[in-house]
């Protein structure tokens, strides 16, 4: 463990005003991060003012044309609407369930351990695998409903507009409820026991305890979880791409998918970059709004954006 004594003097000398000496350790991470995350962030803004087909090496400045084209296109409000619809519905579907399950799983009965093992499996699967599974399962001709012969289950789940959105929301919940349950479970375990004891002495019932202690105490957990849900929902690309490819029609064409279709299918990288910039802005805006809602939380500095 010990280094040669010669070094000792150096170190104590440096220790006083040392600071720059370690800075180089950041450089490798900084370099990769700047090249593949920061530069692209500015790059996408730049590309939104250009014309490029994604194939040739010819990228021309094009002024505001891409912006004008996208903002005038009725596809944009539609994509925004679908994005917010899926965002809102998946929040409504997931939050109460996750709170409930989180509180439940924070308990210690043994069978919960067994339950938990299976419970978290969806977190491990890729969105592509999940989408493929559900697509096969919901297939009106070869899926589970057809096999069981129950007409109600035999609908063309992904072929009808309203249903397709509902199915996306359901599958999103299937995938992410375990994750948010985990967050709430952690939140519940941090609530001081004494609060419940005091409430019990005051004669508060269990339901009352839940609403007067558990929920208010979970405030920051709710904000964290909601931020992740809301901001995360902007990036449901893989799932929807594999499941419906934005269909039927444009019923599930969320922003991320709209970007992909314009850029990599229609070869219009300019307009696609415009959508990407909008995606970033919407995400930042939502994160800021949710932060405001929550006031200041000592933990929050480390949660931002995520």
């Amino acid at each position: 463990m010990t280094a040669p004594p010669a070094v000792r003097r150096d170190r104590s000398a440096v220790s006083g005003g040392r600071s720059g000496s370690l800075a180089w350790l950041v450089v490798p991470a900084l370099l990769v991060f700047v090249v593949f995350a920061v530069v692209p962030l500015f790059g996408v803004l730049y590309l939104s003012f250009t014309r490029w087909n994604g194939i040739s090496t010819d990228i021309q400045l094009d002024g505001l044309n891409a912006w004008k084209a996208v903002l005038a296109d009725p596809q944009l409000p539609h994509s925004l609407l679908v994005t917010f619809e899926i965002m809102a519905l998946s929040w409504v579907a997931q939050t109460p369930l996750s709170v409930l399950l989180g509180v439940f799983l924070a308990g210690s009965q043994r069978y919960r351990g067994v339950l938990a093992v299976v419970f978290f499996i969806p977190l491990l699967l890729s969105s592509a695998a999940i989408a493929i599974t559900w697509k096969a399962l919901l297939d009106p001709n070869f899926g589970l409903g057809a096999g069981l012969g129950v007409p109600l289950l035999q609908q063309d789940w992904l072929g009808r507009e309203g249903l397709a959105v509902a199915v996306v929301v359901f599958i999103v919940s299937w995938q992410y409820v375990p994750f948010h349950t985990l967050i709430y479970q952690g939140g519940v375990r941090q609530i001081p026991r004494s609060m419940y004891e005091a409430a019990e002495l005051d004669g508060a019932g269990r339901v009352r305890q839940f609403f007067s202690i558990t929920l208010p105490q979970l405030k920051y957990t709710i904000i964290t979880s909601s931020t992740l849900m809301v901001v995360g929902s902007l990036t449901f690309f893989d799932l929807i791409f594999v499941l419906t490819a934005g269909g039927p029609g444009d019923a599930t064409r969320v922003l991320a998918l709209d970007m992909y279709k314009r850029g990599f299918m229609a070869n219009l990288m300019g307009p696609a970059s415009v959508i990407a910039v909008i995606l970033v802005l919407v995400g930042l805006l939502l994160a800021l709004v949710l932060r405001r809602l929550g006031g200041t939380d000592p933990n929050e500095s480390m949660l931002e954006g995520a």
Partner: protein
């Protein structure tokens, strides 16, 4: 999904948390609603998984003939054989290579950066770097995929595994630095001090003191990143065209198109791609769940 971050340290047994479980158990006794939804949700989660597994062992004709929820009359490996004959091994190797190739460098350089941020004093450069990494948590990969595509083409790395590895590393860095620096910050100052008095350089202190003490966080972060990289679909979709460079999630998507109505084969491919993660889950469930909420632990 994007990420992570909460107060679930107790779950991973890193630190005890006030309260313990006695109170919660009492709280939960009345919670029949939670219990009920717990079991219902369990069925909702189990059903598709059960269905994938049994169906993947049916022969194609058997699949249409038997009841969907009944186990196969005769277990058939035909679907698995078909998947394995469709270059599965190659995609698997690609996925392993990309995952290992991204996670190890990402964690090592993030650890070095985190160490510098915690131990390097209050210099402008380090504070700026830290701020930049924090901001990075808010950048979604999708939103910057077009410039990444352009950069990868210009670097002549289109259709290479390296082309997928580099952006994967970049997007693993923010959260890794965050979690690791929080962890290094918890190492008692006196330990650093005694290392210094022993004449150890900062470089030596980093590897011989901070690295071993940070091991739980390193494992957690590695697992989290590995899962993200393993399951990534967008990078291979955008950055490869050559089938020999595909990773598993994209291969799955292609299998699905290729097998058409051969449902057992499609499902077998899903099982095969997920199996490594499930085996991992069986071995280290705690670590893995800890990894999933990595950013949240204080």
């Amino acid at each position: 999904m994007a990420t992570t971050a909460t107060h679930t340290v107790s779950e991973h047994g890193a630190r005890p948390v006030a309260g313990g479980t006695g109170r919660v158990a009492r709280l939960a006794r009345w919670n029949w609603l939670g219990g009920l939804s717990g079991w219902i949700w369990l069925v909702v989660v189990m059903l598709p998984i059960y269905w994938i597994v049994i169906s993947s062992f049916k022969s194609q004709s058997n699949f249409f003939a038997t009841k969907p929820l009944a186990p196969p009359q005769e277990w058939s490996l035909a679907a698995y054989r078909l998947v394995i004959d469709s270059d599965f091994a190659r995609y698997f190797v690609n996925s392993v290579a990309v995952t290992i190739g991204a996670v190890i460098p990402a964690v090592v350089i993030s650890f070095m950066a985190a160490f510098a941020i915690v131990r390097g004093g209050n210099g402008l450069f380090l504070r700026f770097s830290n701020g930049l990494f924090l901001m990075g948590l808010a950048i979604p990969l999708q939103a910057v995929i077009i410039p990444i595509y352009l950069i990868i083409i210009r670097m002549r790395m289109y259709d290479t595994l390296t082309g997928m590895i580099l952006p994967s590393i970049a997007f693993a860095i923010p959260l890794s630095v965050l979690v690791l620096s929080n962890f290094i910050r918890d190492v008692p100052r006196e330990l650093f001090e005694s290392m210094r008095l022993d004449g150890c350089t900062e470089w030596g202190t980093m590897w011989r003191l901070a690295f071993p003490l940070t091991r739980p966080a390193l494992v957690t972060v590695s697992i989290y990143n590995a899962l993200q990289v393993w399951n990534n679909f967008l990078l291979p979709l955008i950055l490869t065209q050559n089938p020999t460079k595909r990773t598993l999630p994209l291969a799955l998507f292609e299998y699905q198109g290729q097998y058409g109505v051969n449902v057992p084969a499609i499902l077998a491919s899903v099982v095969l791609t997920t199996l490594p993660v499930l085996i991992f889950y069986a071995v280290g469930r705690r670590q893995l769940l800890a990894g999933l909420t990595a950013g949240f632990s204080k």
